[in-house]
Symmetry: C2
Subunit: 243 residues, 2 copies
DNA sequence: CAAAGCATTTGACCTGGATCAATGAGCCAT
DNA sequence: ATGGCTCATTGATCCAGGTCAAATGCTTTG
């Protein structure tokens, strides 16, 4: 009776990380049938990340791809003097590292306790070859990111500070894990500084804009990591550039 | 002896637009063998565009994909009050319309006399099915655009006006049709206003920055549609945020 | 529960780039 | 050539958001 015991003793995520993965539903992995999950699990290496841990460094040789399965990571680019632009926040299900080049074009850092699934480039290539649906899914993902990137360019190039913050809040509400937004509460795992670096603003401007929305009764701020939308239509209007 | 005559009379681009296409080399079409070009030509519809003509309108139902084969088009997004963000300029070889959604996420307008090749969505789907290399090529294209978009976010969110203009000039030099930059001359088919809308600045700031670079002997401006880079290393330094 | 260490907020002031306003410079069409 | 375009340049002024400088919480740790 050794077999059952060994399975019991083995942490489940080491036995079959994929079938029990919280991100299984949303991520690109959903393109792979349950019966082939073992193959996927054998290819992936799970890595836990502490808050603040950087796991992709811009310019490094792009040897791996990642899939975020827990927590949140920020993707960013730096200028030599330390100015930082956050290009996105990636939560569970997000696929990272799509690049034709041999080096990463951005850095990635966990902004809270997180977990990623790592695939080596050659192994992912094999997977893509064996599961054409996966390639199609990746193309879809890339297209969606491109659309999001264009929206962000509009925000960074042409929107006011108020419009940027409103856009950020509304987008967070929409991007939330589907149907899991009791009332209109948003979790903000990132700091004000990270929001500022995402919106092309300063910490002070983000904070002031939050305070003003709060004074105008459009939002409530129960804690530093949580915002409640009180007047969603109004915020959506501001975000869209109306008025 | 009717056959040769009919071919002679027929404009070549109606006979086989693809084999004689100037963009054949760079575009996604390069993923398709010469022997299959007829198939590609049968799928595509050539359309000539006058300067200022809009051929994709944000929000319209996304029924077609396009490949620019001549001239230059600008891709842009608008806010209700008319503020405009140009998300990119697409020259010969550029593929447009990648989107999962059913509506276009941006508008596109020819900024000079141009020509595009139009593919209907279902027909492109067929092509993708029959030529897996094409799908792979599209994924590569999408990845490259994603990298460019992230770079542009850094520019829009964190660079100064000087750095933006320098980045624009250096990028134009690099993106030029490979090995066809006699000296360091850049063609600028777009107006100052379009450059401004691309860089998140105003016409006046773009013009002033050009004038200043010129006064500092870093560039020359032989005409409104042409710039010559005189000090490329210096401009690259500014573009990268050094100094 | 005090002290240290952050992240955040708030206030006072400053500035890079926007806005407003002419002026100049090509480019047609007549 | 000349008047009427449009696009680009240049100057003067203004202001949204940046910078600098204190407070004010929140955690964490001893």
């Amino acid at each position: 009776m050794l077999r059952p015991r060994s399975i019991l003793l083995m942490p489940q995520h080491e036995h079959d990380p994929c079938s029990s993965c919280a991100a299984r539903g949303y991520s690109v992995c959903s393109a792979i049938d349950d019966k082939d999950l073992g193959r996927l699990a054998a290819t992936a290496v799970v890595r836990d990340l502490a808050k603040g841990e950087t796991f992709i460094e811009e310019g490094d040789s792009a040897s791996d791809f990642f899939n975020v399965t827990r927590g949140t990571v920020k993707l960013y680019k730096l200028l030599p003097d330390g100015r930082q632009q956050v290009t996105g926040f990636a939560g569970a299900g997000h696929f990272l590292g799509l690049a034709v080049s041999n080096t990463y074009a951005f850095s990635a850092e966990a902004i809270e306790q997180s977990r990623v699934c790592r695939f080596s480039r050659p192994k992912l290539r094999e997977l893509l070859h064996d599961f054409p649906a996966l390639e199609e899914r990746l193309l879809q993902t890339a297209c969606n990111e491109l659309v999001a990137a264009q929206e962000q360019m509009l925000l960074l190039g042409r929107k006011t500070a108020r419009e940027r913050v409103a856009s950020f809040l509304v987008a967070r509400l929409e991007t939330g894990i589907p149907c899991v937004n009791p009332s209109d509460a948003i979790a903000l795992p990132m700091t004000r500084g990270e929001i500022a670096d995402y919106l092309g603003l300063t910490i002070e401007t983000v904070s002031r804009t939050f305070s003003r929305f709060k004074a105008e009764k459009r939002i409530a701020i129960p804690s530093n990591t949580e915002v409640v939308i009180l007047d969603r239509p109004w915020l959506s209007g501001i975000a869209a550039g109306l008025q």
